[in-house]
Amino acid sequence: MKERLEALRDAAFKEIQDNIDLNELEELRVKFLGKKGEITKILRDMGKLSAEMRPVIGQMANEVRADLENKINETKEILKTKAKEQRVASETIDITVNTKDIKRGHRHPLIQTAEELEDLFISMGFSVVTGPEIETVENNFDALNSPDNHPSRDLSDTFYINEDLLLRTHTSPVQIRSMKKYGAPLRIVSAGRTFRYDDVDDTHSPMFHQLEGLVVDENISMANLIHTLDIFIKELFGEDMKTRYRPHHFPFTEPSAEVDVTCIECRGEGCPACNFTGWSMELLGCGMVHPQVLENCGIDSEKYTGFAFGMGIDRIAMVKYGIKDIRLLFENDNRFLEQF
């Protein structure tokens, strides 16, 4: 019996190899260890043994069974690992295939820019307000100290609805509305559509966009204005930006200034875009609110002072994205929009 058991073990070890598959292994397990397997057959003959040999052979049979079970389990693990490796290896795909099943939408570059500008000012403690696109002559010109005979009031400069109503030519009437509604102190910005009688070409559009800001409080000075706009410009275009405040003229501010900013394309080196001056010209207009404008809105111009600034959002978006033709902003060509 002893010899039969040893022969069985040798035979099994010979057959259980890692070049078989899992099914074959299972068949071998049944063949050797199953209820009708070889070991069972041998053990069935135990009755024929003497009483003293029975425990010896029993123990030996258990050892052989354990050896076979171990061998089968080990081989099973090896075969499983091998199978997994084979599957993974067979599943390699072409990762250069482009399916384009998912599409994201795109924000309009100008509106996106306007919202970014608003957010920048929100972070500086300004509140966003809005105003209507159709305005009164009073809010758009009179209250802003614009002289009666100012050319900007002409039919050839401004779109009128009747003699009292027009399409706002700037976002400045929002200043008037806000000062009348909220009084002082005040810290607001407002972005929106503005309109001027300009034929369409690559730098002009009858509809364009401005962002207007206004601060009214006690002891507000030009030094505060410069500080605020400098922070804004650096946030918008980068820390290396320089600004240049040049005296200018607007009817609703006094003193008034225009702000030039380091040329965004060449960062001040001089290039064709800046006419080799190193400056992007007239990016913003600003100044101290004219005392008459404060008074027009019921604010005591002796107690309060304020500053205001305005900028063309279209221009800023165009500079930012390198867009040379303003018409692209209004044409809504999908191939243009999907670049942003």
């Binding site: 939408g105 924000r107 159709i134 039919l155 810290r187 200018h248």
Partner: protein, 797 residues
């Protein structure tokens, strides 16, 4: 405004470069647009005298000249026809350089060697538009004898720099060389040389020559006049011609040049009339008569009306006041006696007439901004001085000055602490006084304040803030040290509707829509293209008085036309699929014609074409509303909106509130926009959406008990809508129906014609406990019975 730097330096002591002048003036408020160096690089061009001129032996069209340049006589070949022996001309010597890098050598012209070249003004670098007419085609001939061999560069002011300024409309006093000299003097602290005018000989009396000046309109605020006799019309001297050319003005003749020169110098537009051609030898300043005609100097006949101011003689108009003279009284070669006009006109009249006639001139651009009336006399006197100095005529004694009285100059108080408050910087009082004095304000000190008397040419300075700007700009805004805003912290806020906008945009961006932006004004044809009926509310739109064209003439009452336009444009460019949205305003008049501000309503429009259908739009809207917490969505078929396909469009409600309409575009409308694809649109009342938005989210506990899923498939008539079936399921399910999923709609061989099979998967769940089959079976039975009764539904097994 073109400023020749050489001319500027006649009035102000400056020993800095043109670049430094330009930068400094920019910082003090006169914005420089460009600096141009004249005629850069000219070398070895000298004055020469033509000794002889002969026809070239081998070429009829060429001349061979002997030109004496002092050191020797050069033989030069030229093709010009305007030369005669004895003329003084500019000669480019062999080795000379001309503008544009042209080098002159010794050249052989058909056997004759040309030692250099005789030069025209163009070859010396002048632009065509400033070269006198008679010199356009020939060699430049000097007006008199000059030292031979002399370098022409300084002689002809060829080394000048021209600075171009953008002068703001409030500063007409800067539209002159002297005005800019005043700015330069204030900016650089250089001594300002005031022009001293001296006329040595005056003859006869003005009243012997003219019957006077009659001013019949308030639009003429002053009229200052003198007479010059024995006029000899000829070219003006070289220095004046070159000065004018450098300032961008073409020389004409001595009288015209002198008036132009003084206009540029002092800023007062002047006019010279041929006195002998004035009817009644008098001037009348009056309103034009309706229908009166005048041919201006540019040879165009102008139709006038009583809003125009004319200068007339006894009979007819001879000039448009402040804009342009008439052809009939123009100075000609035969002019003997000249009446000089230095006048001041109301800016508004000049502006309106100039605009109406589309006629702008150097005079009108100055007058329409307002000019110091004191300049009238100064300028006319200066003209007389130059007439005498250049031998253009004899100055007649006496002046006629109508309305010469001027009001007193006003004063403004400048409080130093106010300047500090506005500028944010403390400027010593003596510095402020210095700035103002250099700008020609007379100052006195009183009780710690500066009292400034505003000069007559500074009408723009009206209030204290204006004075503070004067101080600030000379101190230099760039020298103001920036200071942070102080005071309490403020919270930056966004209006609620903008917050909602952001949410909507993020949803739409996430599911593939592009944001678009279109004009607020649209064509009236748009309402027809959208098939809107005559009585549609959208047709109550506001018209612009002065649109840029019919296509931009109405304030939109719908966003759909813009959306259709852009869908059409994109399809036309071959783009297969476009998904777009716009959030914009429509303009609803409270009455027509408009008397008060209209209502501006915010609208969300969505549009697409391509591989998408009605249900994609419906789902899009549900995603948007879902993000905003707007529930209770229900839909009704839209049948009365001719912009939409009647079988494929709907009104969307939240409860009873209409949120908008959407669906497939009516094929006629799609055709109107030349779309071949089926486009889909939605127009959503965004104000309503904002109002209905509920951002308050309350957490609902996750279910503890398992769900049960049951499928139902019924065959119903084609007309029965899925929504009606779902309503019944929901009603029977009480609160136990967690979701209903429509998983199949089948039409075909397995069902009768005009019928469809609709299959739902219903998920039941209770939050109270595990559901039992009997409870669900009861519900299912109820649902099926109801479907059978109401819709004649047949259960499909």
């Amino acid at each position: 405004m073109l400023l020749p730097v050489n001319w500027l330096k006649n009035y102000v002591d400056l020993s800095i470069s043109s670049k430094e002048i330009a930068d400094g003036l920019t910082y003090s408020g006169s914005h420089v647009e460009s600096i141009t160096s004249m005629n850069k690089g000219i070398k070895k061009v000298v004055v020469a005298k033509l000794e002889s001129i002969e026809t070239h032996p081998n070429a009829d069209k060429l001349l061979v000249c002997k030109a004496d340049a002092g050191d020797k006589v050069y033989t030069v070949v030229t093709g010009a026809k305007n030369l005669k022996s004895g003329d003084y001309v500019p000669l480019a010597l062999p080795g000379a350089k001309l503008p544009g890098g042209i080098e002159i050598g010794i050249t052989d012209f058909r056997g004759t060697e040309s030692q250099g070249m005789l030069c025209s003004l163009k070859e010396l670098g002048y632009a065509d538009n400033v070269i006198p007419k008679e010199m356009r085609d020939g060699i430049f001939v000097f007006d008199k004898e000059y030292e031979l061999g002399q370098n022409v560069v300084p002689l002809m002011q060829l080394d000048d720099d021209i600075i171009e300024f953008e002068i703001t409309p409030n500063r007409p006093d800067c539209l002159s060389i002297y005005g800019m000299a005043r700015e330069a003097s204030a900016t650089f602290r250089g001594e300002l040389q005031e022009p001293e005018i001296e006329i040595e000989n005056e003859v006869d009396d003005i009243h012997d020559y003219t019957n006077g000046i009659e001013v019949k309109t308030e639009a003429c605020r002053r009229y200052y006049s003198r007479v010059v006799k024995d006029v000899v019309i000829k070219p003006s001297p070289l220095w004046m011609q070159t000065t004018l050319m450098n300032a961008g003005v073409r020389p004409v003749n001595n009288m015209v040049d002198i008036t132009n020169y003084v206009m540029l110098e002092l800023g007062e537009p002047l006019h010279a009339f041929d006195l002998d051609r004035l009817g009644g030898r008098k001037i009348v300043v009056r309103q034009a008569r309706d229908g009166e005609k005048l041919t201006t100097l540019d040879d165009v006949e102008r139709n006038l009306d009583e809003n125009d101011i004319v200068i007339a003689d006894e009979n007819t108009a001879i000039g448009l006041a402040g804009i342009m003279g008439g052809l009939d009284s123009e100075i000609t070669k035969g002019t003997k006696t000249v009446l000089l006009e230095g006048a001041n006109f109301n800016p508004r009249n000049v502006r309106l007439t100039s605009k109406k006639l589309a006629l702008r001139s150097e005079a009108s651009t100055r007058f329409e901004k307002g000019i110091d009336p004191n300049l009238c006399s100064q300028a006319v006197e200066r003209v007389c001085e130059l007439v005498e100095e250049t031998g253009a005529g004899k100055v007649v004694k006496g002046v006629i000055d109508v309305n010469q009285t001027r009001g007193n100059l006003h004063t403004i108080v400048l409080r130093p602490e106010r300047a500090k408050m506005l500028l944010g910087v403390e400027i010593p009082e003596e510095d402020m006084v210095g700035y103002l004095e250099r700008l020609k304000f007379k100052t006195t000190l009183k009780e710690g304040n500066i009292i400034a008397e505003v000069p007559s040419f500074r009408d723009d300075v009206q209030v204290e803030a204006d004075l503070i700007e004067e101080v600030g700009r000379l101190y230099g805004f760039h020298n103001i040290e920036s200071k942070p805003l102080t005071g309490g912290l403020t919270r930056g806020e966004k209006p609620y509707n903008k917050q909602i906008e952001s949410r909507v945009k993020s949803v739409l961006q996430g599911i593939g829509y592009n944001e678009v932006m279109t004009y607020s004004f649209i064509s009236p044809k748009a309402y027809d293209k959208l098939n809107l009926p005559e009585d549609a509310p959208e047709r109550s739109y506001i018209r612009l008085m002065n649109p840029l064209g019919e296509d931009y003439s109405t304030m939109r009452t719908t966003l759909l036309s813009n959306m259709m336009d852009l869908l059409g444009r994109n399809e036309n460019k071959g783009i297969e699929e476009v998904l777009a949205y716009e959030i914009g305003y429509i303009f609803i008049p409270k009455s027509l014609p408009v008397v008060e501000l209209p209502e501006e309503r915010q609208v969300l429009s969505i549009g697409f074409y391509g591989n998408k259908d009605f249900y994609y739009m419906k789902e899009t809207l549900e995603m948007v509303y879902g993000r905003l917490g707007i529930g209770g969505l229900n839909y009704k078929r839209l049948t009365d909106n001719p912009s939409f396909h009647p079988g494929r469009s709907a009104t969307v409600y939240s409860g009873d509130e209409v949120l908008g309409v959407f669906g497939e575009v009516h094929p006629d409308v799609a055709g109107n926009y030349e779309l071949k694809n089926r486009p889909y649109l939605a127009t959503i009342n965004f104000d309503k959406v904002v109002e209905m938005t509920d951002l308050d989210i309350k957490y609902k506990p996750l279910p503890k008990y398992p769900s049960m899923t049951r499928d139902i498939a019924v065959v119903v008539d084609e007309k029965v809508m899925v929504g009606e079936l779902e309503e019944i399921i929901t009603a029977h399910g009480k609160d136990l129906v967690e979701s209903i999923e429509l998983f199949d709609i089948y039409r075909g061989n397995q069902v009768e014609k005009n019928k469809k099979s609709v299959a739902f998967s219903i998920v039941y769940r209770s939050y109270e406990g595990t559901l039992t089959d009997s409870v669900i079976n009861d519900i299912q039975t109820g649902i099926i019975e109801d479907l059978e009764n109401k819709f004649d539904a047949k259960l499909r097994s």
